[in-house]
Structure formats: C-alpha cells, structure tokens
Amino acid sequence: MINSYFELIRSGINTTYQDKGRENLYHIGIPYSGAMDNRNFLIANKLVNNNLNAPVLEFAYQGPHLKYRGDKISIAITGDVIFKIIKNGLENVGNCYESYQIESGDEIDIISTNKSTYGYLAIGGKIDIKYQWKSCSINTKAKIGSNNGKKLESNQTIKLLNLNSNKDKKKIDYINSKVENIRVIKGTNFNYFSDEGIKNFFEKKFTVSKLSDRMGMRLQGNKIDNILNTNIKSEGLIKGVIQVPPDGNPIIMLSDHGTIGGYPKIGIVASVDYDRLVQITPGSKIKFTEIQLTDAETLFKLYEMDTDNLLSQI
C-alpha cells in the first residue's frame, strides 16, 4: 500500500475520469463515453509510460488545481492547455506534450483549455477508481462509471495504487491543430430536407452554441428546412450523427449521447474529423463539406497512421 495522492484544491468546470469507454451496451441505453479527443488521450498516457487505455483526467474550459502528496511521480498534459506547476511557492508555466516530475507539496494549476474545449492530464501510475462494464469513464447523465458517475468535486482526493518506475522526461513536438471545416457523410434522411436547406447546410457556417456538452454539440445560425416530416420513428444513434429537430437547428451527437432518437439525420461526421470536432469551442464557427464513404475510410486510416507515428516518437 502506497500513500500517494492528489488533493483537488479546485475541481474545474467539467472534470471527469475517462478511458476508451465501453462497448456493446447501446441496446440498453449506454453510449461509449470515453475521452472525447482520442488522440490527445493516447498521447497523454504514452508520455507518462502508462498503458494507452489507462484512466486520465479530462477537463473542459477551466481545469482542476491539484496539490500532490507522496513519492515522485510523472504527469503530462495534452491539448491546447494553459497551466502552471508550482514548486516551493515558485510558479512555472508548463508546456503541453511534455512530462514533468512532481514531488510532494507541488501543485498543478490548470488554468484553461485556451482556444479548445478538452484537455487531458495523465498521471504515471494506477489511480484507485471503480470500473463499470470494464471502463472508468464517467457518464454523468446515467450516473455510470467511477466517482459514482459524478463530476469530480473540489476537496476530494485522487488516490494512487502504484506509481510507474520510469519517470524519464518525455516530449514530442505537436500542435493541437484547429479546424473549422468538418467532413460529413450524407445521412439516412438526407431527402427530408429542402434543396435550399441542403445548400445552406454545406455552404454556410454555423455557430457552436453554449449549450454544447459531452452529449451533443448544438449549432445555430442557419435553420435547415424540413419538407417531409420533422419526426421519424425513434431509432438508434451513433457518435457523430447530425440530427435536425423541428426548430431546424442541427445537433451533433457526441460521446455521451442518448442511444435512441427520433429526429431526421441529415449527416454523420466522418470519423477522421471527430477528435478535432469536439475541440471546437462554443461561439466558434463550423462548416460542413460532403465526403464519400471510401474517402472517409482512407482518410481515417491515414489519421490513425499519423497517431501511431506520433506515439512511436515518444
């Protein structure tokens, strides 16, 4: 039994434990959940010598402020994140994509996710948390996962069961690229919408609404006109589906989405763009371009190769 832990001086706005999420549970109403931005999740774990699927802290907008107690440990932060490491009262600005050795009494203050939405903190060791359906991922809607399915709160602790022995400094040169152009495959109800609605969907920009969260991204700015029926018989949903409710404002299903929905599907975000999609902040613009299935498949393969290549450099 080791006695190493982090104390949450401030929890941050939306801090949860996440890993790859859970499969094969859509039919009972449980989505994948898991880290929103998979690439940044993997890189964070690799930087601290963790198993790639190890639990990390995911935060949005304002992150947590933590104080460490225990033996030396390594940590890494990924994304577009502004943070400080405080040692003996001295503040140092931290860099993303670089591991740091933390000692007892040190603090990590994650100030903001800057021009992105989600950031990741990986801790080199094993966190003492519960798993449900083989995943620690917190789904606050269905109260599933570690921490009783709730967001982390100020003053709670993050206990560690063991620490990784290899604490060498690791870093990569990587910039969390930002895009506003998202590629979309035509949806199963594409013909429910007017020619003008479809033209607007692919030619005009949308604004990401403040009501967006881990369940969905709501868009505003161009109403998509439905000419057939504003409801369909409820059916399964997947991550990335773009539904258009009767008010004409599209909603993109994200990792914690409801598993069944009754609004027409105009399109589905190509998997290659999902990690970048979730990083678009409320108030920012987003534009859709159509992509064919085979191109989406090829681009996803290239994206994965690129991720593997980044991981192999660490």
Binding site: H27, T188, S271
Partner: protein
Amino acid sequence: MINKIVNLGDSALYCDFGQEVNKEINSKVIKYFNSVRKSNIEGVTNVTPSYNKLIISFNLSITNFKKIKKEIEILNIDYENKITNKEIQIPVCCENSFSLDIERLEKKLNLNREQILEKFFNKKYFCYMTGFIAGMPFLGDLDENMRADRLETPRVKVPKGSIGLTEQFTNIYTFESPGGWNIIGNTPLNVFDSFNENEPNLINPGDTVIFKEITSSEYKKYHD
C-alpha cells in the same frame, strides 16, 4: 428479411426492416439483433435494435462497411427460435403529485381521469426497445383513443420513475432527464441497476409489462 442495408456514416450499418411499427417487424429486428450478437463478427462494437431498424456499429480501425455488410447478408437467422420473454409487473402510483399531465390528457383524449386510468392499467404492453438513457423501455401499444402528442414544450426535468405516454407508446424514465411525454404516474421500482452489470435492465425487448395501480402509502413502503 432486411429490406435495405446502407451505411450510417463510416462506422455503422443501417438495416431497414420497414416503416411501420408492429410486433412482427420488431420481432424480426430482435431476432437479427440476437443472431448478430451471437455470431461475434470481428470488429462489431454495438448492435442497436429499435422498432423497425437495426444499427450495427463497428471499429473502423479493423474492419469496414463492405466487410460487415457481407457478413450480415450471409448471417444465419433462426426465425423459428422463440424470443425468450418475461412478464413483468410494474407498480404505478397515479396520485396527483405524480400524474403531472393527467389534465392535459383528459382534454386531449376527451376522457375523464377514471377512464384514462382504467384503459391504461387494463392492458399488457410489449417492450419494443430500450435506450435513449440507460434502461428506458419503449412499450406499446396504447389503445387508439389513448394516443396523445408530445408536450408542446418538453419538460427540462422529468422526475425519475415517471411513466410517460405519447402516440401509441408508453415508457418509464429511469433517470431524471429532459422529456416531452405526458406523465401519468410514477413507479417506486428501480428499473435500471448499474451495479448489476450482467443484467442491468429490469425490462428487455420482447418482454411483456403489466402496470399495477398502487396508493401513495404503498408507494412509500417501497422506499422504506
């Protein structure tokens, strides 16, 4: 048989069994659902049945639409195999604090409270699917004269355990959540149990549900 298989994005198959909602079509969907899950096709990560569609999600890192489509087209479906189903009784209290939309229903259906409750309780319901949020059962069918539209403005918070009605369907809110169904009562039973990982759902597709009216004092006893 599946009428049509198309792609839903780049990592799911959309299997269309028809436009109508009835037991026969839904039973076919459930038979396919069971067969796909049993067949352990490489790369399949989720199978989602609904009234008349089946969505098969897969891991694009190891397979693709073309491969999974082929596997589904040659899949052996045992149509004779009866779906195992249970009959489940759900206690429901319809006293005023729980029947949030009874007055709306009275107006919309042109029936009084007693008539509505009598029709509601005097029937067995078939579970078509579960989901939206964890464990929520979609049950049917309500009598023709019991069918009302969704609320014009959905509630921001529907209390946990609420029994909702809309069109030909009735459901149970397993968690507090937003929702637009007409709320007729509330059950003290826990319909979803995340600590029972093997069988978290009390009600599964194919099951039959009977609602039983209880008083508020009986309701309270469930929580003691």
